[in-house]
Every structure is written in structure tokens, then in C-alpha cells.
Symmetry: C2
Subunit: 334 residues, 2 copies
């Protein structure tokens, strides 16, 4: 493969557009496409040449890069249908299919198998680092595929990220991401429960941070993305939980984790609980907030729980009062 | 207070004995006691002078240090009863009551209030670092109490540990420990679920470690106490899960976390789930293993789940086979 690639960049959303811009800057010959006209136009205005369809973009490319929301979208685009030619058919034989979407491991393997069967090469390379990392070119890529295919896409990925890890065979990139984010989602809830508990026990945020950050409670969710303002000035909690890593994306990734646990019969319990908690959080207004805002959810639910407990206690007192009165009435000589 | 203290050291178990030895080595005048004769004798043989009762040890001390299993034991010892004089009564006025046990925050506050009411001073200073840290004098102390009392016990604690943190008022040491260990217990389960999931997805331990340790899944449970052998050579997984930090102690600490969540009406869900998981783990043979052996528990339960799923699938096939046969029999012309 040549040093500079001809890249069809498909999916120019909040992540895809800045990634495509970085490829253009690095001297690659990029042709972008997005089914959303506004996204296509925005990318064009940022200097990304565009095509009239995904198939047109793929036709002249040696790399077809997809950055989609779901595995179904990836599979549909590869296969085509509804009168649209599939990318696998539109691309020249031996094209590299590089999927940077975050999707189910099973879907990633299916996509890779389809590409290989059609005479192409395939790599899954989901990213972490969010929109900020995409803009700055500091993403981490977790890559699954053949060693030589990894080497082939490495310069391209390094133009968009600062860390590229080969995790294993097809699907291993998705596997690494889903496992990492399972740990992350669970730890953020644990850290948040600990801070809310600390608040109720009269322990200052800084004191808990000082103890745990230098002890066995240390974790990225605490020491980099700290869910309370103060201890880590750069964390989203200091800017009213503007993401960062949005609650909707954490809910999506934990849903992928639950799918993976189910399909492999792994008896995980923390992952599914975290998926439930983030799913509800995203549905109840947290979708666009940083995932560390889960602490506000725990705080709110704790207040409700305290009120309910107080209500029960006062209800019990009233009931006992009534019983006492009744007993007195019953026993009164009148 | 003098630089060198006269210390009644009460509770000479696996943690207490080496802590007392370190105080003796640092030149403090220690008198130890334990209700278990064998523990008392073992400490004596390691060079800790001993007394005939806790009250005798406390009588001449300027610091009464307790290292017990439960808050009830601390409260009972302070108060006395059953013909035994309480420590609060046995000690000279103004004695420092330094409780290093890990107990409920409520109990720690009650113990402190009793000590202060009796004319004494009080500090709670639970530790982390385990038996290894106690032997090596590298414990972390999390301290709750008045600032001047913290300063007074600091040299003593520094003789037994390498990190001493003032966390706030009475009970704040216990609060910090329970919050830290809530994070720790939950993250270890999450890390273990991720490794077992990775195994089933064909992701090597080292690949997952390489990704997560340098990404947002990074946590002490992964990068210091890694639950699979290999990536972190010093972790208990490399010596068949010899503790380290025993499963029974993690179960105890998570139980304290649940008590604290309940008594403060904090709507935490990860903490209680972790308490349930570690409680069962400790009861089913994990009490004496390092808490990271929870991964073997998840692996076993996953195998059972896979077998059950396979059994259901084959049962369904058999049932469908029977229905097909029955249908044919019913429809046969004979």
C-alpha cells in the first residue's frame, strides 16, 4: 500500500467529521459521504471533499473507512439493498475495510467475514477519546484484524490518534473496547456512590479524593474524570457536566457489554446493573450530559429515599398515635 | 504529650501483633493484651511486653490503642461490664483513645463520644495495607478526630505506617475507609467480569490489560491487584490468590458500606450488589483467598450458565423432535 491513501470516509458526524479533517491534513486523499445532508455540507466546508453517494466514494478508494452508530448500519452499508449497491461490491478487489464504529463483537466479526468473502481486507478499530480526542487527533484506536492489515492501517490511524493498539483477530478491537468501558461505567457509578455516601457521612470531597486517589480506590473515573467539582479541575463536573463522554454513549456501550455477556454466557452482574442505571439516566435527561453526572442522579434518588423514609417514620408515628388514641377511646369510661 | 508514648496495645491478632512490634522498635513503651492466650503469647515472644488484662494495660498508658474485629467489641471494651472494668474507667483522665479497628461510622462516633464524655481524647484511625503492610510498617491510616489530636498521634502512626491522612472529625477515618473500599470491591468485580468476558471473546489477558491500563478502565484493581496471572507479576493471582486482602475482609468492609448506605439513606446499588457477591464468595470458600479470586467465582458461574443454556437448547431440540414425531404419528394414515 502507498504511504498516502485514497480513503472513502463514510459517516461524517461529531466524531467522523474531525477525524476526516485530520486525514485530509495528513495528506491523504479523502472523499467523504454522509446520508445526512447537513453533516455532509459541514464536512465539505471544513475541507473534506465529498461524493454524491457512499458507493461513489468507495469506488476509487483503497481504504473504506466507516464511522457509524450501529452494527446494523455497517452491515447494511457493506451489503447494500433497496436499490443501493453495497460497498463490498462498489469497491475494487482487495480494498481495506476499516470500521471505526463501536458495535457488537458478533457484528464486527460478521462484517469482517463479509469483507473477506468478497475479496477484501478488514480491520475493526473502535476509538476512545470522544469528540475532543477526535478534533485534537489524540484518539485511542483498539484494533482487531490480521497483523499485516494492522500494519497497513497504522499510519492512517496515527494521523487521527495518538495510541493504536493491536488487540488480536477480527472483533478483538470491539472486544477490548467493550471490556474497557464495562470497567469504566461500573467504576464511575461506584465512585459516585462513594462520594454521595461521603457527603452524608460528613466527609469532604477533597478528603475522600486524597485518600482514595493514593489508595486502592484509585481509578480513572476518580482521578481523571472526577464526578465532583474541585479535586480534578479539568473534569466535566467543573463545567456542569458538559461532555466529555456523553451519558447516551455510555448507555450504548454498556448495552453492547450486556449483549456480549449474554452471547458468551458470562455470568456478569455489575455490567448489566450499570447498563440499567445508565439506560435510565440517559432516558431521564442524562443523554447529553457527561456520564459522570450519574452522581447527580444518585444524589436525587437518595434525597427521595430519605424523604420517603422520613414520611414512613412520621406515618408510623401518626399510626401509633392513632392506635394509642383508639386504645384510650376504647378503654375510656364514657 | 511526650515524644515517646506509653501505649496500651489491645488486640494482638494478625494485624495488631506486627503493629505493636513496630511501636516497640520505635522506642515506645508498649504493654499489650489480647483475650486469646495464644495471640498474647505470640506477641510476647516477638518482644511485646504484655499485661494480665486490658484494664491493667490501660491503667498506666497515655494512649489506649484498640485493634479489634467489630465495633461492638470496641464499645464493650470501652464501657466494660460482666464484672470487667471498662477501659474508659481504667485509664487516667485525658488519655488518648486511638481505635485502629475497621468498624461502622456510627459506632466510631459513639465510641468517640463515650471517650470524650469520660474526660478522654479520641481518634479513629482504621488502616489499609493488610498484614504485609502491618509487618513492613507501610500501612495507610485514615484518621478522624480533632486536628490537635491528629497531631498528637501522628508520630505513633508514622511508626506503623507510611501514609497518615487526616480525613475530618470523629468517624471521618472510618468514612474514608468505607468509601474507598466500596470503590475497590466494586471495581475488582467489574475488572473480573471484563477479563472473563474477554476470555470468551478471544481477547488475551495481556491485550485487555494493555488497553485498559492505559485508558479509562485503569484502576488499582487492574494495575496493582490484577485478578489474572501475568500482567502484574506481584499480584496475588500469580500465587494462586494467597492474600493480600482476604475475601472475608472485603465481605466485612462491604457490609460496613451497606450499613452506612442504609443509615444515611444513600441510594447506592453497586455497593450492595458487591456486598452480596463477596458475602456469598466468602461463605463458599473464598474467605481466606485474596479478594481478586472473585474472578474464579465468575468463571465458574459462567461455565454453569453455559452448561444450563446448552442443556436448555438440547432439551428444546428434543422437545421439538418429539412434537415433530407426534405430528407425523397423528397424521399417519394407519
Amino acid at each position: 500500500m502507498p504511504e498516502k491513501h485514497t480513503v472513502a470516509f463514510l459517516g461524517l458526524g461529531h466524531m467522523g467529521a474531525p477525524m476526516a479533517v485530520n486525514l485530509v491534513r495528513a495528506g491523504h486523499q479523502v472523499t467523504g459521504f454522509d446520508v445526512v445532508p447537513a453533516a455532509l455540507e459541514a464536512a465539505r466546508q471544513r475541507g473534506v471533499p465529498t461524493a454524491g453517494s457512499a458507493a461513489d466514494a468507495a469506488a476509487g478508494a483503497d481504504i473504506v473507512l466507516t464511522m457509524f452508530q450501529t452494527g446494523q448500519q455497517v452491515l447494511d452499508a457493506y451489503r447494500g439493498g433497496n436499490g443501493q449497491p453495497g460497498l463490498l461490491q462498489a469497491a475494487a478487489a482487495g480494498t481495506m475495510f476499516l470500521d471505526c464504529s463501536t458495535i457488537n463483537v458478533d457484528e464486527a466479526r460478521e462484517a469482517a467475514a463479509l469483507a473477506v468473502q468478497a475479496g477484501h481486507r478488514s480491520v475493526d478499530a473502535p476509538v476512545s477519546g470522544g469528540v475532543v480526542g477526535a478534533e485534537a487527533g489524540t484518539l485511542t484506536f483498539m484494533v482487531g484484524g490480521e497483523a499485516e492489515d494492522f500494519q497497513a492501517v497504522l499510519p492512517l490511524l496515527e494521523a487521527m490518534g495518538k495510541r493504536v493498539v493491536h488487540c488480536g483477530a477480527h472483533g478483538a478491537g470491539q472486544a477490548a473496547k467493550v471490556c474497557n468501558n464495562l470497567i469504566l461505567g461500573v467504576s464511575m457509578i461506584a465512585v459516585s456512590e462513594a462520594f454521595v455516601l461521603g457527603e452524608q457521612l460528613g466527609l469532604s470531597h477533597q478528603a475522600l479524593f486524597d485518600v482514595a486517589s493514593a489508595a486502592s480506590g484509585q481509578c480513572w473515573a476518580l482521578t481523571t474524570n472526577c464526578p465532583v467539582p474541585g479535586p480534578v479541575p479539568g473534569s466535566p463536573a467543573n463545567r456542569d457536566y458538559q461532555p466529555g463522554f456523553a451519558g447516551a454513549l455510555m448507555a450504548k456501550d454498556l448495552n453492547l457489554a450486556v449483549n456480549a455477556l449474554r452471547s458468551t454466557n458470562v455470568a456478569g452482574r455489575m455490567g448489566p446493573l450499570a447498563a440499567e442505571i445508565y439506560g435510565r439516566f440517559a432516558a431521564e435527561g442524562g443523554a447529553g450530559r457527561d456520564f459522570s453526572a450519574i452522581i447527580t442522579d444518585i444524589r436525587n434518588k437518595s434525597e427521595q429515599q430519605a424523604l420517603a423514609a422520613a414520611g414512613e417514620a412520621s406515618g408510623r408515628e401518626r399510626a401509633e398515635g392513632r392506635r394509642a388514641t383508639t386504645a384510650h377511646d376504647d378503654g375510656s369510661p364514657e
